[in-house]
């Protein structure tokens, strides 16, 4: 029992560490791109710390550089609206008490949700949530600072294939729960809707539309 727990804990740390390295590299590219787009260093570093949502940060930098600050906020918030249902789903792992909720809410990101959902035991869920959130907060911001300092010397992370690492990691974390037929139907329908509507709708909306997959839920209670 104890050995099994320790093994589970150390494999979690290793898995989170792998994603942490990728996040560090993408954080570096964010820092470099934001500085190249003309944002002052302090703004780039501050944004990474207080927003801590990569997709919306890349989008905001692009739209601010294009002279469209309102779109930067609107598009960024549309992209981040998914965190509300995510918060509902992992609230148990965040824990109780105001301090945990205040801090835990800030490190609620796609990866911390994915690692949490891959665990079923309450203690394991809590550990997965906090370890993933804290690790990625540090690696994203450390990467961002380094990217700001190195600037143009940071290469294109796509050359390293890191853009393939994230979806692959998400799929690996999702697979166990897809063994349940209902979850599989809902998740695959949601993914299909999101991919099909991505060319047509503004970023963020297709992923939210994936919630339509819930229509495939079995009616268990009359």
């Amino acid at each position: 029992m104890r050995t099994a727990e320790r093994t589970a804990g150390s494999s979690l740390a290793r898995d989170v560490g792998a994603i942490g390295l990728a996040v560090f590299a993408v954080g570096m590219s964010f820092g470099a791109i934001a500085v190249a787009a003309g944002l002052p260093a302090w703004a780039v570093v501050t944004m990474s710390i207080v927003v801590f949502a990569g997709g919306s940060q890349f989008m905001a930098v692009g739209l601010v550089a294009a002279g469209n600050p309102f779109a930067a906020v609107f598009a960024g918030l549309l992209l981040n609206a998914r965190h509300l249902p995510f918060g509902l789903a992992v609230a148990d792992a965040v824990g109780t008490g105001w301090r945990r909720r205040l801090i835990g809410s800030h490190i609620l990101i796609d990866e911390s949700v994915a690692f949490t959902m891959a665990q079923s035991d309450p203690a394991a869920r809590r550990r997965a949530f906090w370890l993933t959130g804290a690790t990625l907060f540090v690696s994203w911001n450390a990467g961002g600072v380094l990217g700001v300092l190195l600037g143009g010397a940071v290469g294109d992370t796509d050359a390293l294939g890191l853009d393939a690492a994230f979806p692959a990691g998400l799929i690996a974390l999702l697979l166990p729960s897809l063994r349940d037929r209902e979850t599989r139907n809902v998740a695959l329908a949601g993914a299909l809707v999101a991919v099909a509507t991505t060319p047509l709708l503004p970023a963020g909306l297709p992923v939210l539309l994936a919630l339509g997959g819930l229509l495939l839920m079995r009616r268990s209670v009359a």
Binding site: A18, V94, R101, L208
Partner: protein, 102 residues
């Protein structure tokens, strides 16, 4: 203006996150809705994985990335360790790009 953008984005994003976490207990959701939450998270994560694997800024993401993700997905299906899945996906995409595949 830049400060306003950063503040608005930070406050709004934190608001979404905290709202979900706090509302979970406040709402005292009925059992069927409660059962829906993990399914909703799975649908959102699957949608993120699907769109991130296949699309880039609203257009098709090319060939290297989807193939890299596919290699990772197959390895995950075969129960390969997580680190292997992630490294193989990235490595496949990187090698394909090195070979000139878009």
């Amino acid at each position: 203006m830049l400060v306003a953008v950063i503040v608005a984005l930070a406050v709004g994003t934190y608001g979404f996150r905290a709202a979900g976490v706090v509302l979970h207990d406040r709402l005292d959701l009925p059992a069927p809705l409660r059962r829906m939450l993990p399914l909703a998270a799975a649908a959102l994560l699957a949608a993120l994985a699907g769109t991130a694997a296949l699309t880039d800024s609203g257009a098709f993401a090319g060939v290297s990335r989807p193939l890299g993700v596919a290699v990772g997905a197959v390895l995950a299906w075969l129960k390969a360790p997580f680190v292997v899945v992630v490294v193989a996906a990235a490595g496949t995409a990187a090698l394909l790009r090195l070979a000139g595949v878009p």
